[in-house]
Symmetry: C2
Subunit: 256 residues, 2 copies
């Protein structure tokens, strides 16, 4: 959404600036932002198979390039936020996180906590990160959001994507896809089960995979809202606590 998906290393500056303005106007206290890789990180990560871990020396330059592409995208995001008077501070996941078998193993989070306390808006991102088992790995923005929400005891998670929320099928290719306005933890797990049992690909177009990363945060009782960040005003309204079209994920009643 903040990049042109079809063009490598091409930002969607209009979207970046609009979202920066919406975030500025919402003026939320204690906000952490996490963005993905879009056409910056993903094509390079794929080309050099960074997510497979370290296999051969040709990947070394690939790791450097993947990380550097993310730094470049992050810079555009933080610049736009600062331009709109948001005290944004880039926090580099690869500098403070060590992964293990593709999962966050340790994170030095004290600088991040302090930044939040002082009123800064830390901006993190999906990144190429050192992995003590695999050599290196890709840390998705989704995994990072879930981890940070748990560690820092978040009140809410807002996930901005380029469709209206979680659908019964991929809305980009299947016209019968219906938006799921509300789902409980149980509901999510049932969907996960169905996919695993049937050994089929994620029919939701990858969205369920993203959402499943958030299960630990939902289990903790942190309400999560998925909204279409491509629609102007949605992020602003959601940050202000107003309801917009989207998918609400809540722990739900245990007897439900």
């Amino acid at each position: 959404m903040i990049t042109r998906k079809e063009k490598p290393l091409t930002p969607n500056l209009r979207a970046i600036r609009r979202l920066a303005r919406e975030i500025s106007q919402a003026n939320v206290s204690r906000l952490i932002l996490v963005h993905g890789g879009g056409s910056y990180g993903h094509p390079l990560a794929r080309q050099y198979r960074i997510m497979d871990g370290y296999k051969d020396p040709s990947q070394i330059m690939g790791f450097s390039k993947t990380h550097q592409a993310m730094v470049a995208l992050n810079r555009l995001v933080v610049d736009a936020l600062i331009h709109h008077d948001v005290p944004a501070v880039a926090v580099q996941p690869s500098s403070c996180i060590l992964m293990k078998s593709g999962r966050i193993h340790v994170m030095e989070e004290r600088p991040l906590r302090r930044l939040l306390e002082m009123g800064f808006v830390p901006v993190l991102y999906g990144d190429a990160v050192i992995d003590s088992d695999a050599g290196f790995s890709i840390l998705s923005g989704d995994q990072l959001v879930s981890y940070l929400a748990l560690r820092l005891d978040a009140d809410h998670i807002v996930m901005g994507i380029d469709v209206d929320g979680l659908y019964t099928a991929d809305p980009k290719t299947d016209s019968s896809a219906r938006l799921i306005p509300h789902v409980t933890l149980e509901g999510l797990k049932r969907m996960q089960h169905k996919i695993e049992e049937a050994k089929v690909v994620d029919v939701t177009g990858g969205m369920l995979g993203k959402v499943l990363e958030l299960i630990p945060a939902v289990e903790r009782g942190i309400p999560t809202i998925i909204v279409n960040a491509a629609k102007p005003g949605n992020v602003y309204m959601t940050l202000k606590g107003e309801r917009v079209v989207g998918t609400m994920i809540e722990k739900g009643e245990t007897f439900a």
Copy 2:
């Protein structure tokens, strides 16, 4: 040196590219690079008095801007290194370091260690960093070099500056200034004493102040060479172990 000192936020791209090429050609294993702020970090840090710590809310945006300026400069350095096939990886000091009263208090250094072991060239820099006493502070590249050399047990420190080394006076303003080709720890401490006793400004044009940061590393026995990085070939030759005009700092004999 890698920026135009007289022009804020203006890089010296020719110097950055030449140094990247020299570093690439020297092909040193287990190399960490640290660069300063030049006309990127310094003017903003000064404007918002970041080095004085947090005093009033108007500094908050200043911290964001100072840090972001350093990210921008670092990006140019790392891009140039990658362009010359150096597997450079930006490591953000503010993401993994917490200072206390202006000194490094804690640093998550595991990602950095792993990067080194795998053959990457981590690139750090002077940065605006959170300080548990002062709110925030400025971490100089010099303090960072000394700290990393001790923690990671460096073999050598090479300090590239824009004059030939440590002089008896400021070579830029005093034509009687003589280059000091060799100095021991004792010699350095004598110079420090003289300055402190006389309560005068650093007659060496600030260079002694930079060098004094390195005392802990010199005490540990890590030889340090100061060379003129503005002269093409100097950094390459020094990295290759060849002697060039400069100042050599060694622990020296205790009876010296």
